[in-house]
Amino acid sequence: MAREATPQELVQIRPRLSTLLHKAQQEQGRRFWRSLEELCETPEFIEYLQREFPHGASEWHDPVGRRRFLKLMGASLALAGLSGCVYQPQEKIVPYIRQPEEIVPGKPLFFATAMPFAGEAIGLLVRSNEGRPTKIEGNPQHPGSLGATDLWAQASILQLYDPDRSRTLLYLGDISSWSAFLGAVRTAMVNQGGKQGAGLRLLTETVISPTLADQIKALLQKYPAAKWHQYEPVTRDNVRLGAQMAFGQPVNAIYRFDQAARVVALDADFLFRGPGHLRYARDFANRRRVVADQKDMNRLYVAESSPTVTGSIADHRLPVKPSEIEALARAIAAGVGVGNVAAPTGEALAKYGSWIDAVVRDLDQHRGASIVVVGDEQPPVVHALGHAINAALGNVGRTVFYTDPVEANPVVQTESLRELVADMEAGRVEMLVILGGNPVYTAPADIPFRTALERVPLRIHLGLYRDETADLCHWHVPEAHYLESWSDARAYDGTVSIVQPLIAPLYQGKTAHEILAVLNDQPDRTSYDVVREYWQRQAGAADFERWWRRALHDGVVPDTAFTARTLSARTDFAAAPPTSTSAQGLEIVFRPDPSIYDGRFANLGWLQELPKPLTKLTWDNVIYLSPRTAERLGLDRVVGSRGGEVWSEIVELRFEGRTVRGPAYLVPGHPDDCVTVFMGYGRERAGRVGNKIGYNASAIRTTGAMWAGAGAELRRTGEAYQLASTQLHFLMEGRDLVRATILEEYMRNPEVVHERGHEPPEDLSLYPQYQYDGYRWAMAIDVSACIGCNACVVACQAENNIPVVGKEQVARSREMHWLRVDTYYEGDPENPTAYFQPIPCQQCEKAPCEVVCPVNATVHSAEGLNDMVYNRCVGTRYCSNNCPYKVRRFNYLLYQDWETPTYKMMRNPEVTIRSRGVMEKCTYCVQRIQAAKIEAEKDGRRVRDGEVLTACQAVCPTEAIVFGDLNDPNSRVAKLKAEKRNFSLLGELNTRPRTSYLAALRNPNPELKGA
């Protein structure tokens, strides 16, 4: 009876359905599935699925048709109901380490996969509860993660479930079907076949997937006249050009910060973003962690044109204008003896003279154990100088390694885009396939991509959202999220990870592999087939199944890391005269937004509401100014916090004849006469969350000034604008909140941390002491290691189902983050020292919140946690008033989204969804503690140290957060608490917090005292 469906037919059914079908076919003997399958397989049903509601509605007039319509409608509803629980991808995916014998309901599984983003893949372990991915963790075996993730990886789970993601295939804005799309493409490709693909253009983002590159190569072989272009707004063109300059070929630089005693960062935010940042942050922090068995620290010098987290934790930070960086690099290069480089003269650098001298001397003393790292945004010559300096210092081969590029095909992307637009304008492009990316929004203002696009007769767009680009294309194909896709991607060092899906595409998404398969006239090939086939070719046939399972299981493909290459940096480029800058007007710096990046994450509420490092602003991008420049422009009095609100003035920023209007904001430590603008905002079609907020920096960004330029003008408009910030005061008011000292001082007298502190004796309380016989959970946070990257805040939000409240509520101080990263400035506002202090619930032993709750809704556990009993809470808010750390968050309104179905799938089933009127706060991830305890009890042992990782701890790239059992004297946390650097925040209040901090240590160069 039941005829086997041919693959072609299967492809034509919605993927959700095909998943079901496949699943159903495998699950023999379940009659229920059988009968559904029968239903699905009738030709009428397949036809129905492809047709649209209006067609169905027309059948109301036909009695026979109507009956069938109702019948089918019922079947499809039945399917929809069922499919909620079985969104498993159809191919076999391999669970990670903790694999139960079978899927046990309520027991999560972990799968290894990888997130390809910003030119590298980050290896992940994704938790799956009953087939729903719910939380992202780093893959400890992955070299680019080592268990950590960044905020974007954390938030990508929200993107998977974003209800605003594009859900259907569109043709001219109307819902269409995959088969119609296939037909259209086939016709076009046949047409192109005749002319070698001369009219075919492919536009992708940076491709780091070997399989995709292989597919594109195959396509280009078949259609030799077709062209492949790459563009993404946060492009690493300058890195490529710099390598070209220094080595004559594109290379990938890998740094070993664990080997470097001295690091000089030239406008490089290497701890926060860019390939390898997680690994670099880990290695860097490990060289900085002064504990019992490590007494030395590395030293970081940062010269930067816009304040970053990397600059904030530097031992010496120098705010410089972007135009001065080249001269700075030349001066250092000349100092360390790079040939062909003359130390630049001129008054501009005179003021940095002592700084440069000290840096040069310090580097000179640490030859072979230092790194000069140049920011991706710097002009090519600075990169080349960086390579030359590292070579001159003998760092290459010790702390700096060169390999083949991670990108499959390194091109200068702005040139590539310009070329494409020229072709489009000339009418040479007949068919443009845009695979990912949103060039209509992100293209530089001087490349008229939008107008050129309209001249292309056939435009196809594959994207996660129906965004600005999708709107201008004929065909829009919803893209499968990486958690729904089969693919592969390279890490910063070349290591390949297979991207395996955690869930079948929620919205009929297709991958780039599938689109390319269609272009290659293989429409029946799924991305699984493509990726697997590619690796079968690479790995050889012998025992491939084993190899494949291993690769999926581990999350890394063995032996794919690039080997280091020996290259010698040329220095002839340096003979060219330094780039002259006509310092007219303000200099302008373009940067990706620290939360929503280039705009691709604009619709993610978690990231929009994430307080940006340093400013703590949410829901907006602003124009950074230094306080002195603001004073000069008369803005210093109108911008800042007024009352409880942060107000700013809208300014008109004019650059190369184009203007944007955005709120100005004063940032201490920003170089004078310079503004920073952030990309990613001003989206027209991001979705309900991200639409129409902020200004669009791409509107004034040009190919000549992708990252920095001179000659900007700022005009006041007098228009007031409200911003939402989660922190209004950045000074410690003389209080001992973040204790900080310098290494030298600490080594001389470790008690220096406690000199001002006063902690009352333990028995000073009216209430009896608690006895902790079992576990004593505690946390130690190393302020010295915290780089303020915010990954922990997003991780906490994802793990604990924390709602997003919106800009208006943030402005009213009602944000819900359980964990916040406090930022304090110290010293000169021109160039202050910044400290980051993550504040979760301190889990006080003498908790002020517990005694004042009238209904026992917050109680002390036998293990020392302050447990919050949501269903007992009536919401008097007394606990929050009495909390000196103000870590409690109150659901003033119904903040949680109870309606959106996809969010229901996303949530962590182990954590209660709080309703309105209830207080909530950090629980030390009590659900993870309980899970570990259950496991330990089954084995009849104690929970091992490191077995419980809180969400914030797990994600932290620098391992600044350590959690464990204080009753175990050998636990990491107990050892850290024994450190002299350990202090309790507000310990003088006798709250006896279980969370303690390790004082911040800086390692300044004695030569640069006071600098």
Binding site: G643, G644, E645, Q727, L728, H729, F730, L731, M732, E733, R735, L737, Q809, R812, S813, R814, E815, R820, D822, T823, Y824, Q837, I839, P848, V851, V852, C853, P854, V855, N856, R872, C873, V874, G875, T876, R877, Y878, S880, N881, N882, P884, Y885, K886, R888, R889, F890, N891, Y892, L893, L894, R916, G917, V918, M919, L985, L986, L989
Partner: protein, 468 residues
């Protein structure tokens, strides 16, 4: 204590104004007071006032409805300032209630005969103020439908409230206070309800007052029992005057927030409560007395006395402010920061307004001429009420908004719904007052009668005792 004879009292109080104007007898007093209630025609002014306040009650009900359906987020409260108008208003209303109890209980025990003409109205004010106050703790919680969990009742969850929490103590203190005040007020009403029953002509009205009078016939046994109960209740109420606001002050004093964690709070709160209570009595009685022509019964003597109580309690409160500042300086650190921030920070206007309203302006009451000028006295009473509201604002908001960690500092700004809730309760309070004036004798008829010379004639040969 030696018995205070009327003569002695006259000399003690400077023999100024009598507590009751000359020329009254039992009948005139009874009719004067009872006719306000029993008059067929409702005065136009009453109708206007009741209509306005009724609309305010509707506004309150609307606000409450919206509040319960939407959440306390409709107010301006936020995270450093999790309590704001809700608790300010609660404390303010509770404080206002204190004057009534003080007048009826403590002044009764001290045999202050001037209390008799004002105690009824003051007690009614107490009850209504407690009713308004009670709304706030009930509605300010996140889930008001579960607010009953604050009461210790046997339940299947096997849960008790948390007895260490001052909010828990509040529940007991306020509910006891409300109950005792109601009993006290009602007991004092019984003889007058009987008078009303006897005076009323309409059978239905007669019936209603008759039921409420609980069969009072004025027999000697009735009077004996009445006096005993009344004294016992007065004895019970007296500690409550001190304890209720002491416990309310514990909400703050027990916590560790600078500005709250202060041992001076209990006496200072009690004095403040009496201060604001007397101000509210004046605010209500000055217009009522004028409107209903009750100057004969509520004389300038009463006004003087109340103004003097205000002056005295106001000075205690001023001492409290001074000590707060001194201890802040003495303690240094967070406390001193809080004090300076209060006086010089963004909410300094509230602090200095408070000093002006509660300390500076009331010093005018030293002048007899001002105490006798009803318009000025009325204005000063309003000023003191405002000042006492500001005091709670200063204590609650300016302590919370900048506590220990500067990173979590925030500001507070009330929203529309904070005001509708606050003015709604004022409307509710006034509306209840209007109803009370119209339906019940607002001055204790039988007690005022004891002040009449008539009442003393018979006792003269035996030696004067006021009333036993």
């Amino acid at each position: 204590m030696s018995t205070i004879t009327p003569e002695r009292q006259q000399t003690l109080t400077g023999a100024d104004y009598p507590v009751i104007a000359p020329g009254h007898n039992f009948i005139t007093v009874t009719e004067k007071i009872a006719n306000i209630v029993l008059a067929r025609r409702t005065p136009f002014g009453w109708l206007v006032g009741a209509a306005i306040t009724f609309m305010m009650v509707m506004m309150l009900l609307y606000t409450i409805g919206y509040l319960v359906l939407t959440g306390v987020g409709i107010w301006g409260n936020n995270i450093p300032v999790a309590w704001a108008f809700d608790i300010i208003n609660f404390v303010w209303w509770i404080g206002i209630g204190h004057a009534g109890t003080l007048i009826s209980a403590i002044l009764l025990l001290f045999r202050q005969d001037w209390r008799t003409s004002i105690n009824r109205a003051a007690e009614a004010m107490t009850l209504f103020a407690v009713a308004c106050a009670g709304l706030f703790p009930l509605l300010h919680v996140g889930r008001p439908w579960l607010a009953y969990w604050l009461f210790p009742y046997p339940n299947t969850m096997g849960m008790w409230p948390q007895f260490r929490s001052p909010l828990m103590w509040d529940v007991f203190a306020v509910s006891t206070y409300g109950t005792v005040s109601l009993l006290f007020w009602y007991t004092g009403l019984i003889p007058d309800l009987a008078t009303m029953r006897d005076q009323a002509r309409h059978p239905l009205v007669k019936k209603i007052y008759g039921v409420l009078a609980m069969g009072w016939r004025g027999s000697a046994r009735h009077w004996h029992r009445y006096e005993t109960v009344y004294l016992i209740l007065a004895g019970l109420s007296t500690p409550l005057v001190l304890s209720v606001h002491t416990i309310v002050s514990f909400d703050f004093a027990v916590s560790l927030i600078p500005g709250w964690h202060t041992t001076i709070f209990p006496p200072y709160f009690v004095a403040g409560a009496i201060y604001s209570g007397f101000a509210m009595v004046l605010t209500l009685l000055i217009p009522i007395r004028k409107f209903y022509g009750l100057e004969d019964l509520i004389t300038l003597r009463h006004m003087h006395q109340m103004a003097k109580v205000m002056l005295a309690t106001g000075l205690i409160v001023a001492y409290g402010y001074l000590m707060e500042a001194f201890i802040g300086w003495y303690a240094s650190g967070y406390e001193w920061f809080m004090m300076r921030n209060r006086a010089l920070g963004p909410y300094a206007w509230a602090y200095w307004m408070l000093i002006l309203c509660n300390i500076v302006i009331p010093q005018l009451l030293w002048s007899k001429r001002i105490r006798e000028n009803m318009i000025l006295l009325f204005l000063i009473s309003i000023v003191v009420n405002t000042g006492m509201w500001l005091e709670r604002f200063v204590i609650i908001v300016t302590s919370l908004y900048r506590d220990f960690l500067p990173s979590s500092w925030g500001m507070y700004a009330p929203r529309l719904w904070d005001f509708t809730m606050f003015f709604g309760t004022i409307g509710f309070f006034l509306f209840l007052m209007f109803i009370f004036i119209r339906l019940l004798p607002m001055i204790s008829i039988f007690e005022v009668r004891t002040l009449l010379p008539q009442a003393k004639v018979r006792t003269e040969p035996e030696g004067a005792t006021a009333h036993d």
